[in-house]
Assembly symmetry: C2
Homo-oligomer: 432 residues x 2
């Protein structure tokens, strides 16, 4: 193969895909096992041309793609793999950097530190926060709680809202910390008066919960943590980028007091999977938890290697895509995208509120709307199944106050008001 010729074909496929993705069925309309059954059960003995891979992608695999890139994707937290991010991934794979020590890729480490610092500035966080990139918020939260455990020997409890992401429970299980879920108030916010932190190493507060994008009262939680000497980790994986916008920044009150914060550019900042930024104001606790430099990795440079701050030893050159996105969109372009998503979510919420038989189910702060149709949980679940089976749009669900609710999450850079209107039309059609 030649990279030029096969690359041109791959690039053409990619460009064409992005042009037609709006019209493809958003949720993959296949049964479990269907894609695998189309492929040979055994590997080829002889090499095949790359064109064969590309042909199979089109003819055998594409049906198994749930189109996260579709402007009509509204499930979980919708996202965008933008063009600068995509091309940066091509370049990163070409360079194939392996970040183990600074010297194994000075550019990887220094661009990762710089890109995280650029984003820190854009979010209005103080310079005491030092950032690095993890693959996911799950790993970032695990890393943060591991550092918190190292920083408070003998204290084994972790408090978090009963609406916190499941990754907190997973991290607690891995770290053998005792998870203490805290009840929420009527806006699905952690009730800080229920915190009893004497034996706690950490509290995980969320700005933008998965179920409803609720905002925990971070200032009060931070005060409690400070008084008790507990670590405050803020999970702003989804909502974090909204802090770029001055008018939304009040929603982030108190997060400057955190010991660690996670924000996922691969969620709402136009960056392809995977890119989860973890900042901490307590680098030493991370080193205490994660630094191992065996003889075969000893080097003469006086540098804290990024591998000393996280679980994996080797990391890939994720920083390139984050840096490319920040440059090609500019702060202005990213703010415009976020504001448009918030505006569209507001429009949709208005339509729901104005329609008899439908109701909003949670306060709306960002680009997520929780709603339901009058009727039983079963009715709403069946409605969601019909909507998603149509392939026209894709939404997901949550449970709030023990009721099944629908979630419409806006996060694709290509989503227009027409796309959101289509979702509303399909919902009403299937409900009728």
């Amino acid at each position: 193969m030649t990279l030029r010729d096969d690359g041109a074909a791959a690039l053409e496929w990619a460009a064409d895909y992005l042009e037609r993705v709006r019209d493809l069925p958003v949720l993959a309309q296949v049964e479990p096992g269907e894609i695998r059954a189309r492929l040979p059960a055994t590997p080829p003995e002889q090499g095949e041309p790359f064109a064969a891979v590309l042909a199979d992608l089109e003819h055998k695999l594409l049906d198994g793609v749930t189109h996260w890139q579709s402007p009509r994707y509204f499930a979980y937290f919708a996202n965008t793999g933008s063009e600068p991010g995509i091309l940066a991934e091509l370049l990163a794979a070409t360079l194939n950097q392996v970040g183990i020590l600074w010297r194994t890729s000075p550019v990887l480490q220094e661009l990762e530190e710089l890109a995280c610092d650029w984003l820190r500035q854009l979010l209005g966080l103080p310079g005491t926060f030092v950032g690095h990139i993890e693959d996911s918020a799950s790993t970032a939260t695990l890393a943060a709680l591991g550092a918190a455990r190292a920083a408070a020997p003998g204290r084994r409890a972790v408090y978090t809202s009963e609406h916190a992401h499941s990754s907190v429970a997973k991290a607690a299980r891995i770290l053998e910390l005792e998870l203490r879920p805290v009840e929420v108030d009527d806006a699905y916010r952690l009730r800080p008066e229920l915190l009893e932190l004497a034996d706690a190493c950490a509290v995980v507060a969320t700005i933008g919960t998965t179920s409803s994008a609720a905002i925990d009262p971070v200032p009060a939680i931070g005060d409690a943590c400070e008084a008790a000497g507990a670590w405050l980790h803020v999970d702003a994986a989804y909502a974090g980028p909204a802090a770029l916008c001055e008018e939304l920044r009040p929603l982030f009150a108190g997060w400057k007091g955190a010991d660690s914060i996670v924000v996922n550019p691969h969620k709402w900042l136009a960056t392809p999977m995977d890119c989860s930024v973890l900042w901490t104001s307590r680098v030493d606790a991370f080193r205490e938890a994660y630094s191992f430099v065996p003889e075969y990795l000893r080097a003469s440079e006086d540098v804290v290697n990024l591998s000393e701050l996280s679980v994996p030893l080797g990391r890939r050159f994720r920083a390139l895509k984050l840096w490319a996105v920040l440059r090609c969109f500019g702060a202005d372009g990213l703010r415009a995208m976020i504001r448009e998503h918030v505006r569209l979510a507001g429009e949709f919420a208005g339509w729901v509120e104005g329609e008899p038989g439908w109701a909003l189910c949670a306060p709306r702060h960002f680009s997520l709307v929780c709603f339901r149709r009058d009727g039983s949980d079963e009715d709403n679940e069946a409605l969601l199944d019909r909507v998603n089976s149509s392939g026209e749009v894709f939404l997901s669900h949550a449970r709030l106050d023990d009721r099944f609710v629908l979630r419409l999450a806006i996060g694709n850079a290509g989503t227009t008001e027409e796309d959101v209107r289509l979702a509303w039309d399909v919902l009403r059609r299937e409900a009728a």
Copy 2:
């Protein structure tokens, strides 16, 4: 920007880079902070064209790249980001799949299962092994030991060779397991008679240690594990792909009896970072350790989601590159690459053995040669520094029997006998 135009420019840069990489200084010749100092300290307000990113990559960043893609890269474990892998990363970023549940990307899950199964077949492992992809062997070993801990409540010791990778110690610290390093014999192999497994949950055996590519006696270790009910995790992160070659497969004796095995296609299987395959014959123990399915992720399909077997919830579409590499090289092509690397390592070892004043320092099984020049540790370290500072080749070091030894690792698909000869010439020149 348009993906077609900017993509064509990025692709041309990538193709050109791979054509000239052999002649670039292998180890980046910059000081810490030098790359970051070339870049603006603050992010741009307005978006810039992608061409500006590409220009900076060439003129500001390239000096900070340590060229893992160079055929003259011989440090740590040399690797290859091959062209099918690179283009698959372009396509994966374009599709921007987020593997959370099967339904969020059926193709991601099914291709990941298939590609891991293809590789399993190629390595001669039985069908009882079920594979998935992690970002790194560090994460895979953490995941395996977490499953081992879940499978043997109350047993907290982990045995491993004193030459095991540092990721074992890191995983033990995270999981709060007691690491018990075991002495090695004169070939740097774990001495199985020293295992006392009554309170052990696991043993990590290595096929191809980082320092010297030593091979622990896996059959004896496996017997001890079986007798004691301890989990056997085999770290074949580097050497694993050699099992594709029948004549090398005897070196993998006993690994079929493992509870889990990790092999990194991003090391010696032409796959770009990151791709670490973890197989287990005990899926249930992984689910016990890592399965959380909260309400907002409940779905109707009866499928074990890959996120139930590992730490992160979301995963990217890494399977596409592994599948593309297996197809475009074919088993035959991969075997040819591995055999050539082993042959070249044998040639180099022969030159060292035949030259007065130089000596081999460890048995050679795969594509790694450990050697030193007569003289002090300081002399050898200074020699290595001079060699790497020349930029002509890049080697690394280890400590064996408390002596500083040089490591030459062959793993780049483009490495020729001339490149290896150059390394030997530079070593002798700088030693003179």
